[in-house]
């Protein structure tokens, strides 16, 4: 009997132990780039970054109109990022960064923008400001979302968080190719910075240095680091494609709060949600149907923001009766009160003011679109409405 027990244990050891273990040097090479960024500072900032990820923008790479801007910043207390330029580029940041934002005109062929982020640095009181990060997490092919592998999305978002950490203004972009190789671009002010030690090279007509931190460029006011698991040739290609971005100004009040206390509407409010909210329609699906078809998991947003965005979009498509998305889309998580405020409607008393909801805009173009509001816990669709055509410029 005892011999049998010994045999079972021996069998378990044989079956459960790894047959091979990777070399530690390989593990080190894989993780070392993620250690380079300074540790995230205060819990406040860490929470803010997490919250910001929950707010991740899910933007189609083919936004229908450069005029379509989705504003998301108010509830974060004055940090705003607008994505709406060609190719899903960021086209407005608030507060304005102290450097020139450099972006490629579009993701290179075969590459997908998985995460972006902006940390405007400390506020006027020297406290860390919230950062905002998001990602284009899926492409639409034949009416289906085609997400990159979850592990790649998570790596990209973790990388973006690392890049955004710190106490100075940072803008970050993280791309991935179909094999999961990442290319990360971090931009900060060039003031007080010079090229590090490394191999001098040229990227287009720009001087650059290949250093331990990656490919470094200094363009105008911007110190640019391009790094990641992609090859240096891809870094060079990415560097060559960077162009200065003319950011549209957020027309903000002296208080510095982009929306919460704005006494005068920003210049682009003619495109704001409240100005475009059209007829309400009945939700096509119930919470139970959403849960059944989209696998609703309310805790997903804190664990896997990219995956959560797909889930939310699935729910919104179902509730809104949208068969095939064509235009841009955005997702933000906020209180019902704030959602109602953004939509310019009376919040009423049926839904609790503090109830967390997802405000989803789908199929957005200058011609129309759909707005869906879903309870972030229960998936209960509270509101579905059409977007009216945007006024012409």
């Amino acid at each position: 009997m005892h011999n049998h027990a010994d045999s079972v244990e021996a069998l378990l050891r044989h079956r459960l132990q790894p047959a091979r273990i990777p070399r530690s040097a390989v593990v080190w090479l894989a993780i070392q780039p993620r250690l380079c960024a300074p540790r995230r500072g205060t819990p406040v900032l860490r929470v803010a970054v997490v919250v910001a990820l929950v707010l991740a923008l899910s933007v189609s790479l083919a936004l229908a109109s450069p005029n379509v801007r989705d504003w998301l910043g108010g509830w974060l207390g004055g940090v705003a990022v607008s994505m709406g330029g060609p190719g899903g580029r960021v086209d407005s940041l608030y507060p304005a960064p102290p450097f020139t934002v450099m972006q490629p005109p579009a993701a290179p062929d075969g590459w997908t923008l998985l995460a972006n982020g902006y940390n405007p640095g400390p506020d006027a009181n020297g406290l860390p400001s919230a950062s905002l990060a998001g990602g284009a997490v899926a492409r639409r092919v034949d009416g289906q979302d085609v997400p990159p592998p979850r592990s790649v999305v998570e790596q990209a978002q973790a990388r973006a968080q690392d890049l955004l950490a710190g106490s100075e203004a940072v803008f970050a972009l993280v791309y991935a190719d179909s094999d999961g190789h990442l290319t990360a671009i971090r931009e900060r002010t060039a003031t007080g910075r010079s090229f590090p030690a490394g191999e001098t090279t040229r990227v287009g007509d720009r001087q650059a240095v290949v250093s331990q931190q990656g490919l470094i460029l200094i363009v105008d006011r911007t110190y640019i680091e391009i790094s990641g698991s992609a090859s240096p040739e891809i870094w060079m290609l990415s560097g060559r494609r960077l162009e200065p971005t003319t950011l549209a100004p957020f027309d903000t009040p002296p208080s510095g709060q982009a929306a919460q206390t704005a006494p005068t509407p920003p210049a682009w409010t003619r495109l704001a949600l409240s100005a475009r909210l059209g007829a309400r329609i009945l939700p096509v699906a119930s919470a139970a149907q959403i849960a059944q078809q989209c696998g609703w998991d309310p805790s997903l947003s804190s664990r896997a923001p990219g995956e959560a965005m797909l889930q939310v979009r699935c729910a919104a498509r179902l509730a809104g009766g949208i068969v095939d998305e064509q235009g841009g889309s955005s997702v933000s998580q906020l209180s019902w009160l704030e959602a109602a405020r953004q939509m310019g409607i009376d919040p009423g008393g049926v839904i609790g003011a503090d109830t967390r909801v997802y405000l989803v805009q789908l199929d957005v173009s200058a011609q129309g679109g759909t707005v869906v509001v879903i309870d972030s816990q229960t998936a209960q669709p509270y509101l579905v409405a059409a977007l009216t055509p945007a006024p012409t410029e």
């Binding site: 010994d6 021996a10 079956r15 132990q17 091979r20 990777p22 593990v27 993780i31 070392q32």
Partner: protein, 189 residues
């Protein structure tokens, strides 16, 4: 530990010394990989979990109070990371991992298939908590105390699960079909 006390290594890591962290990785790499493997049972996924564990460790070292040994703390981190990993991927239970086993030993392939099928079948019939405990003890090679720390339960519970698990497996496996495991054990050394 190469002569350097664990506390010194931790202090250097906390100060942002990456060379110290690499030393730490060298020390615990095999163990953490084994813990990860015990849960996900796929070399590639285990590597992913191990990397994530060490990145979390780098970030979490400032909050490491030294209540447990560093290795135990890392193991617990690896267990939690592996669980998150499985949850995220909506992985099936440990058995599913076992079924996708990718062995690369030089042992006779036919023997492996027979043993795998019998053991997998038996493991599928014991509770998941027992399977995980068996995996950490016999797969990752953790001591009873370390398994208890990693799983957040009492040592007595671990001992009970181990003895119960082995007993259940023994009953489930057909005694007269057990292969010569002493040969298997020798092959692993």
């Amino acid at each position: 530990m190469n002569g350097e006390p664990e506390s010194n290594l931790v202090a250097r890591c906390r100060a942002g010394d990456q060379a110290a962290f690499r030393e730490l990785l060298e020390l615990f790499h095999q163990r953490i990989f084994a813990v990860a493997y015990a849960f996900v049972h796929d070399p590639d996924e285990a590597a992913e979990v191990e990397q994530e564990t060490f990145v979390k460790a780098w970030r979490g070292l400032p909050s490491f109070r030294g209540d447990a040994a560093l290795g135990t703390w890392l193991s617990r981190l690896a267990v939690n990371t592996a669980r998150d990993h499985l949850r995220r991927r909506q992985a099936r239970a440990l058995l599913s991992g076992l079924l996708s086993w990718r062995a690369s030993t030089g042992q006779d392939a036919l023997d492996r298939v027979v043993e795998r099928d019998e053991l997998d079948h038996a493991l599928s019939r014991v509770p998941a908590t027992i399977r995980q405990t068996l995996a950490l003890r016999y797969g990752a090679g953790l001591s009873v105390g370390e398994v208890a720390e990693a799983l957040g339960c009492a040592e007595g519970t671990v001992k009970w699960r181990l003895s119960t698990g082995v007993a259940q497996l023994r009953e489930l496996l057909v005694a007269d079909r057990l292969p010569d495991f002493s040969r298997v054990a020798r092959g692993r050394q």
